[in-house]
Symmetry: C2
Subunit: 427 residues, 2 copies
């Protein structure tokens, strides 16, 4: 196995970001057909070159076992032929998506006679910091290539051997199809210094997307001079209004919590109008108990759920917590305004839902709640690029600038103004 001489993190990041920048200039002008050809070749290579990838993955797994990493971390690390085939299928899906680059968003002739429009172009070089899931390396690389961006990847140390093997495969494929190998750069230094170097490579890297927990995101925001797109944390509410259809409320709430409690769009706090709570909460609670959901209730809700073993008293800190688990906070509210206030105070601006049959209340909720995704009578678990009809995504942005919600191919582009004149001068 070839090993690279260890160089310092800042030099490595700088050198690779410069190479990515040169490659990005080429990739930005690459026709869609050639980008798709590259992606299909990547999918092929994941199967044909699986021995090399799986051998490297075994090294990571052995190190993980030796280090006593928990079983779920080891599972996230694991690659096998079936998983590689699933990753390859995702790459083929990205190849099949429409290319956002080159779209002219608007074009008009203005008073002076010049024609002025905006055209979609790649961002340039995207830095991505992520943890120990080697599949992310391929996911991000394929979305980047499709959207015409070079990437500088800084994956977690636990997956370094797998990532190096995947990066070699990607590099070879790019060269084979005639794209610069530098389109996908993997940082080999996996300490915090390489993250910092990435965050401060202003002028070389156009945006950094951290994928990980709140600690990583805060670290990035604190140290970055390159713009950062924050993804992730979702403290999500569903408010069941006095005018809700209780059957819809029951179904949607159950789905929003139980379908996959571990993802960022899962329900965390259920708010129920006190007028409807007696008719809804006991049945819903029993159903949730059947799915092993622990309920952390305010006194009003608790009073309706006496003698149920899965019901506990909520503490103040339960509101505003992203549980990512079979736990849900429950609170009764006296009116719609109290629900809005609670969400404005405790929400993280991710996904918020109301269940109501009342037109005015529903529209007010849609208009007044400030979040990436606001739902009327549907489960917050829909917040996802594919579910919104955008295809794959690199994450869910919880900030307001540039992109909000799913960061799909379109959100990996910017625009430039293009102006056609005929010798026009400004008066």
């Amino acid at each position: 196995m070839a090993t690279t001489m260890r160089i310092d993190a800042a030099t490595e990041v700088r050198t690779k970001a410069q190479a990515a920048r040169r490659a990005a200039r080429v990739l930005a002008q690459t026709p869609t057909a050639m980008k798709n050809q590259a992606l299909r070749a990547v999918a092929e290579a994941l199967s044909e070159q699986q021995d090399e990838i799986l051998a490297a993955n075994k090294e990571d797994l052995a190190a993980a076992t030796a280090a006593g990493l928990p079983a779920y971390t080891q599972d996230r690390l694991l690659l096998n032929p079936a998983r590689l085939e699933a990753i390859a299928a995702d790459v083929r899906d990205v190849a099949a998506l429409p290319d956002p680059v080159g779209e002219v968003i608007e074009m008009r002739t203005v008073e002076s006679g010049i024609q002025v429009g905006r055209q979609r172009v790649p961002l340039g070089v995207i830095g991505v910091v992520y943890e120990a899931r080697p599949n992310v390396t391929i996911d991000i690389a394929s979305l980047a290539v499709k959207s015409g961006n070079a990437v500088v990847l800084r994956g977690g140390s636990d997956a370094i051997h797998s990532n190096l093997a995947l990066a070699r495969v990607l590099g070879r494929v790019m060269t084979e199809v005639g794209l610069p190998a530098g389109v996908v750069q993997l940082i080999e230094t996996t300490d915090r210094q390489s993250v910092t170097a990435l965050l401060r490579a202003r002028g070389l890297i156009d945006v950094v997307i951290p994928r990980g927990g709140a600690d990583l995101i805060n670290f990035c925001v604190e140290h970055a001079t390159v713009p950062v797109i924050e993804t992730g944390a979702g403290v999500c509410h569903t408010y069941v209004d006095a005018d809700a259809d209780t059957e819809k409320a029951r179904k949607v709430t159950f789905n929003a919590k139980v379908r996959r409690p571990s993802i960022c769009n899962a329900l965390d706090t259920l708010l129920i109008h006190e007028a409807i709570a007696p008719r809804l909460l006991p049945t819903l609670a029993d159903e949730l108990h059947g799915a092993n959901v622990e309920l952390r209730c305010d006194p009003g809700a608790a009073a309706l759920l006496a003698n149920r073993p899965h019901v506990k008293a909520a503490s103040e800190s339960d509101y505003g917590t992203e549980f990512l688990d079979y736990i849900m906070a429950v609170k009764l509210v006296p009116d719609f305004e109290a629900a809005l206030d609670h969400i404005a105070h405790y929400g993280s601006g991710h996904s918020e839902a109301i269940i109501t049959e009342n037109y005015t209340t529903g529209q007010r909720f849609i208009n007044e709640v400030d979040a990436a995704a606001v739902y009327l009578n549907a489960s917050t678990q829909f917040t996802d690029g594919a579910q919104f009809g955008l295809g794959a995504e690199v994450g869910i942005s919880t900030q307001k600038l540039h992109a909000r919600g799913p960061m799909a191919l379109g959100e990996m582009t910017t625009y430039k103004w293009i102006i056609y004149g005929n010798g026009h001068t400004r008066p």
Copy 2:
């Protein structure tokens, strides 16, 4: 004149940002008609309450004189009835622009049956850091109110009395028309600490827009945890291709440099294909000399302009300089590729132009140059919100995230996803 007890900058910023945040929640739901009414009332008040404003402005001017500030700074500080009337006219123009808030950008029914769309919403609270031009206080406030955003303004110390008076007028008008006075907040502490506090008010302020020189912008990027939109610096090129119409080249180049050399979209470096230079450069140089433009030439260009007093030798640092003055660098290039490389290396991603009659060369320039605005056969001086048909703007963004080029009303908004279901759950 009332003075406020001096409190520390961080506390002042925090308190005012919180007030702005509360006001923003109200303003986001305010109907267009009421926002326009507020703006027209501001325009009225600037005239009716001009005694208070001009008295405060006199204090600033007296302090400026005492401090020996240069004449042009004093001129930028100066308010008088005519200037107030011009500012009021701009406010009325903003009132007449379409309201971007509430626009549903797209809406479709996806496979699962939910209806998914994006709706334009205000950013929330915008922080703006600017220097000693009191008119900016009203410009920004009016664009913010129209786009549904509260603002926290941190103007320069030289204009503090004028700004305080203008902020009082704005606050009274907002209250009169029934909007929260907190919509426009002026920071009274004018040291760097208040800028730092603004830049770190994460969770309270959604974006900071610095308006000023490179030093201010670098300071903001270095210290911010709130996202920053960089505006300003423009190192702009015009490339005259071998296939250019020399008459168009002459007219456009002259306009791009001379119309207003002091603005960011003014031409800095003229690149000329060596095949056309002998036919164009001597005439153009004479015309530019007539307008007192100094030319800093590479040896090839200098050889064509012998014995002209305004021609000097270019140093390496002239390329990549934003002159903001009657100075222009000139360089001959052997081919189109050399022009692209020069622009990629020295450009700041602001405004770049090509003059050519060749279709393929023109389209390649439009596609391959990476800048906020790319021109074919027109003057770079058109880069401006009003000239692009967007109305007034808060600045020209030279970064790629969120908005590129003019930051007009639309660019002061973000979007949220809105989802309509009927009890839909995710499979």
